[in-house]
């Protein structure tokens, strides 16, 4: 009974995939860039099993952060090639799923969607990334929690304030958890500071902001 179920499911999958014009080695790639990487690149390999050449009509990505390039515009019968999808990580976090839609001329509307899933490792999780005091508030310290990502070991962090108007104190709670206490000298003036948070032995830098803001606008 189990064999019949597996065979049935496989036949559905195979019959559906037989509709694709080019045979793709993979239509889904999962990438795990390092924290230092600025880009994640996926190589989608294909071959043309048919008897006629296949032309690419269009290749476009789901967002401006991803570019896709074909090696050639025409794939001869039996020919192989690949589409390179480059995802610019920028300041994105978490799991990013971007797609590249490929259209060919072999049949009407022959379209394949290639999926690039990028798991961006988060070395530090900072909450919140913004602390503020209203003008005139008591300059009590506020806390920013910092936690090392699941796959990382962070023993120490270094915190620097871009402005002497704010003092910072780091408390190591162990197990990759830290507490940053931020305190302004006073809250009379509208001043701000960018807090640079850097894990020990790491080039990657993280940021938080401390600021004295205007009092709420009264409508």
């Amino acid at each position: 009974m189990k064999t019949h179920i597996v065979a049935f499911a496989l036949s559905i999958i195979l019959s559906l995939s037989a509709r694709a014009e080019l045979k793709w080695e993979q239509t889904e790639i999962e990438l795990h860039p390092t924290p230092a990487d600025k880009q994640a690149i996926g190589h989608f390999k294909y071959q043309n099993p048919g008897k006629a050449p296949v032309h690419f009509k269009s290749v476009h990505a789901s967002c401006g952060c991803t570019t896709a390039q074909t090696q050639k515009d025409e794939v001869p019968p039996g020919g192989t090639g690949e589409i390179t999808a480059t995802f610019n990580i920028g300041d994105r976090t978490g799991t990013q799923v971007k797609t590249v839609t490929v259209e060919t001329d072999e049949a009407a509307n022959a379209k394949t969607v290639l999926t690039l899933k990028t798991i961006i490792p988060q070395q530090l999780e900072i909450t919140p990334t913004f602390v503020f005091w209203k003008q005139g508030d008591k300059p009590d310290p506020k806390t920013i929690s910092v936690k090392a990502g699941k796959e990382f070991t962070v023993k120490h962090i270094k915190v620097t304030s871009s402005s002497p108007d704010f003092q910072t104190k780091v408390e190591e709670k162990g197990n990759g958890e830290f507490q940053i206490d931020v305190q302004p000298q006073e809250t009379k003036n509208l001043v701000a500071s960018t807090l640079t948070i850097q894990p020990e032995d790491s080039q990657k830098v993280f940021y938080a902001t401390a600021r004295i803001t205007n009092a709420p606008t009264v409508q």
Binding site: G64, C65, R92, T127, P128, T129, R211, T213, T217, V218
Partner: protein, 142 residues
Amino acid sequence: MRSSLVGQVLILAAVALAPALGEAIWFHDKISWASPISPSESVTVDEAHTWGATAIWVDARPDDEFARDHVPGALSLNEDRWNELLPQFLAAWSPGKKVVVYCSAESCDLAREAAERLRKEAQISDVFVLQGGWEAWLKKNR
């Protein structure tokens, strides 16, 4: 035997309905049944206009689209350069301000994602996504 099976299915379906209804009532203001954005988290162009100077407009589209055209006075805040652009947004923000985030259209997710990051990471409240996005703003204003 057949009716017993049907009876069992109906009983299970009914039993599961009770807590589901309770949950739906509990979350009634957290989720919109009409559109994928929560009613407390989205705003129409007309509503946003009534906020006047207390609204900060945030453009979540890529740099080139922002450069081409944007809501007058809007700040660019996209995920390509989030760390670089965030400070200028924070400089413009103060408690009591309402943040209106937009991207190209209703179907675009960039505004929702940017709004989510402002709420979760910066813990800023009163962040709204513009219904219909840039397209909706253009229809009302141009």
